[in-house]
């Protein structure tokens, strides 16, 4: 590690005329040196690509419609045609048990859920929704948190007071309590604000709810950073040159804040996916027949003793994705923290 940095330093000192390495290029170089983070980025990319291929898998490989209940259907296991739902023979012999994992990629690879739907196909479709909700919510959170943090931190005074107290109010509620309350109110009826109308089944609802509840967690640290940036001499220098407020915000504050928002993004994505899973598990997130990893776990809850794969498969998917995101997020933070390098070379 120290060799690499020393090499970088001599390269920088040696070649004066070369176009200099921007802070971004240095960060990328540091990230590319982090094998663990790269591996996790690979895992994550694989998960995303596989989930994006969900329609292809359902239509051309498994030949199922994962959104329609298929209680009377049949499938082929080992060359024999068998019903998807079998009369239960164990215990009291009541009810039916869906078919278990066949490990045959064309026929109910991970078995069926309580409605006879292909769990493998639903897992992929669910992944699309989970990832989409997580990514969209994280994006919205980081975007608005950055704006609120910059405005509150830079202008201070009354503006800061109003914004900070508003964030405090959101922060004062436990995240899940707030998310659950918002969801139970909004999911059933949908919401209409002016010309905008969110239907009750819309994916946008969980996205917006999850995005809103986490805004304070990102906006507060950003506000703090802006507070200290505002006192930095290069900001004073810009004001001393006669730069407009807009210019100072855009060219001096924002570029130094963006890294913080970027560091937060993968971490927020992980948290958002966990929140989505929790809300969907409580059936106030993604609504049936749409799938998400949370709803599949909910479906698997009843089958936990007979067909544990239904709940375990999405559980593993969530755990793996969140792990990958957290490790990658740490890597991104290490790469973007310019002081990490300064501390070693100065």
């Amino acid at each position: 590690m120290s060799d690499a940095i020393a090499g970088e330093a001599t390269a920088a000192a040696g070649d004066l005329a070369a176009v200099a390495a921007s802070p971004w290029a240095l960060a990328r170089r540091r990230l590319l040196r982090n094998r663990v983070a790269q591996t996790m980025a690979g895992v994550l990319a694989l998960i995303v690509v596989v989930c994006l291929c969900a329609p292809l898998y359902a239509a051309h490989v498994a030949h199922t419609n994962p959104f329609r209940s298929n209680i009377d259907g049949t499938t082929i296991v080992g060359g024999k045609t068998v019903p998807v739902m079998k009369e239960s023979t164990s215990g009291l012999g009541l009810g039916v048990t869906p078919i278990g994992p066949t490990w045959d990629i064309h026929h109910y690879f991970l078995g069926a859920d309580g409605q006879g739907r292909d769990v493998a196909a639903r897992l992929l479709y669910g992944g699309r929704n989970s990832l989409l909700i997580g990514a969209a919510a994280a994006l919205i959170t980081c975007f608005f948190a950055t704006i609120i943090g910059i405005v509150a931190g830079f202008f201070g005074g009354l503006v800061d007071g109003v914004l900070s107290r508003a964030l405090d109010v959101i922060w004062a509620f436990p995240v899940y309590l707030l998310a659950i309350s918002l969801s139970t109110v909004l999911i059933a009826r949908g919401v209409s604000i002016g010309p905008f109308r969110l239907e009750s089944g819309s994916l946008l609802l969980p996205i917006v709810i999850i995005a809103v509840v986490y805004i304070p967690y990102v906006a507060r640290p950003i506000r703090g950073e802006v507070l200290s940036l505002r006192r930095r001499e290069f900001v004073e220098a810009a004001i001393g040159l006669g730069a407009s407020t807009w210019r100072v915000l855009w060219s001096d504050i924002l570029p130094n804040i963006v890294t913080t928002a970027i560091v937060f993004f993968p971490l927020m994505l992980a948290i958002d996916m966990l929140t989505e899973a929790a809300l969907s598990f409580l059936s106030i997130g993604v609504q049936e027949p749409n799938a998400s990893w949370g709803t599949i776990i909910l479906n698997g809850q009843d089958l936990l003793y007979t067909r544990p794969a239904v709940a375990i498969a999405p559980g593993i998917a969530i755990a793996l994705t969140v792990l990958a995101l957290n490790v990658l997020g740490d890597g991104v933070r290490d790469a973007l923290d310019p002081r990490a390098k300064l501390r070693r070379t100065d």
Binding site: A17, G242, N256
Partner: protein, 332 residues
């Protein structure tokens, strides 16, 4: 003497200390600058010295309107710029620039040097793209850097080089006056001399006027034509650099000067070592009367009651003391 280029009249800057939530309750005030009047004439260098916390940096920022004064007036070229709005102030910003203390904090780490130096031209719409590029390279040469450095980032420069970039930025719009806030105190001694010589050369070349803030008396003596000594938010003595160094009038100046280690015995004057007792009092609650009286060895009763005004003394000096020192260094 001619009309001063920059003039401060009874400048006051107080920073509120919020002691209770929502700003209620007794709120204390830091008296950072407490009634400073001084004038800077064209072409001269006015040094401002004092211990840390005496308000010299705040004064510098007040002079270039980076802080809003609580009361008092700043006049530049005869115009009152104290209450101008940001847009009204803009033409004056071109003539009134600042060099900052910390070369690591004064350059935006996310901008290339070329962008940093082009900003002044962009902000004031002074030049087109090609013209700006030419001027930026010219500026780099003027401050002794290679024009090829335009595409580099601040983190790739040493402290001294960064400070040169800061000087170049201040110089970009051909200002008349530059307030240099401890421009060399963050640098190695060997680099300090280079930057000071650069500032000297630039003054000759462009006819600049400097307000040079520092706590290093040696540096200030070297660069300044006149020196103002500050203590706890007030100016206690102003005078021509050499005269002030040779024969201080104010006991605080005497004490400050005696703290300079003499390298040889015959160095200028042999000074009696005056050791100041106690700490600098808090600017939240400055002492009554003369602010220096709790630490002054000549203090008498009147010093505790009445704040001495800044009055003209011998050889063009102004001092705020009830018992100014005479030619032989005796209190009167």
């Amino acid at each position: 003497m001619s009309e001063p280029l920059l003039e401060a009249i009874d400048l006051v800057k107080q920073f509120p200390l919020r002691s209770a939530a929502f700003g209620r309750g007794r709120s204390d005030v830091v008296h950072a600058v407490d009634g400073v009047s001084l004038a800077v004439h064209k072409g001269e260098t006015l040094g401002i010295v004092g211990e840390s916390g005496c308000g010299k940096s705040t004064l510098g920022r007040l002079l270039v309107r980076l802080h809003e004064p609580t009361s008092g007036t700043v006049r530049f070229g005869g115009d009152d710029i104290t209450r101008l709005s940001r847009s009204e102030l803009r033409p004056y910003r071109r003539e009134l620039q600042m060099i900052f203390q910390d070369p690591y904090a004064s350059l935006n780490p996310r901008k290339r040097v070329g962008q940093i130096l082009a900003d002044p031209f962009r902000i004031h719409r002074q030049a087109g793209r090609a013209e700006t590029e030419r001027r930026v390279k010219e500026l780099l040469e003027v401050v002794g850097l290679s024009p090829e450095h335009v595409n580099r980032y601040p983190h790739e420069f040493s402290g001294g080089q960064r400070q040169r970039i800061g000087v170049a930025r201040a110089l970009a719009l051909n200002p008349k006056l530059i307030v240099a806030d401890e421009p060399v105190s963050a640098l190695d001694v060997s680099i300090q001399a280079q930057v000071i010589n650069l500032l000297d050369d630039l003054q000759d070349e462009f006819g600049l006027t400097y307000v040079f803030i520092a706590h290093d008396l040696g540096v200030v003596h070297h660069v300044s034509d006149r020196i103002a000594v500050m203590y706890l938010g007030v100016v206690v003595e102003i005078g021509p650099s050499d005269a002030l160094f040779l024969r201080p009038v104010h006991p605080y100046t005497e004490a400050l000067l005696s703290a300079i280690p003499a390298i040889e015995d015959d160095d200028e004057v042999r000074r009696e070592r005056v050791v100041l007792e106690g700490e600098v009092p808090s600017p939240v609650d400055p002492p009554s009367g003369c602010r220096f009286h709790p630490r002054c060895r000549y203090a008498t009763d009147i010093c505790t009651i009445e704040q001495p005004p800044l009055v003209a003394g011998r050889d063009g000096r102004l001092a705020a003391c009830h018992h100014p020192l005479n030619d032989t260094g005796e209190p009167t």
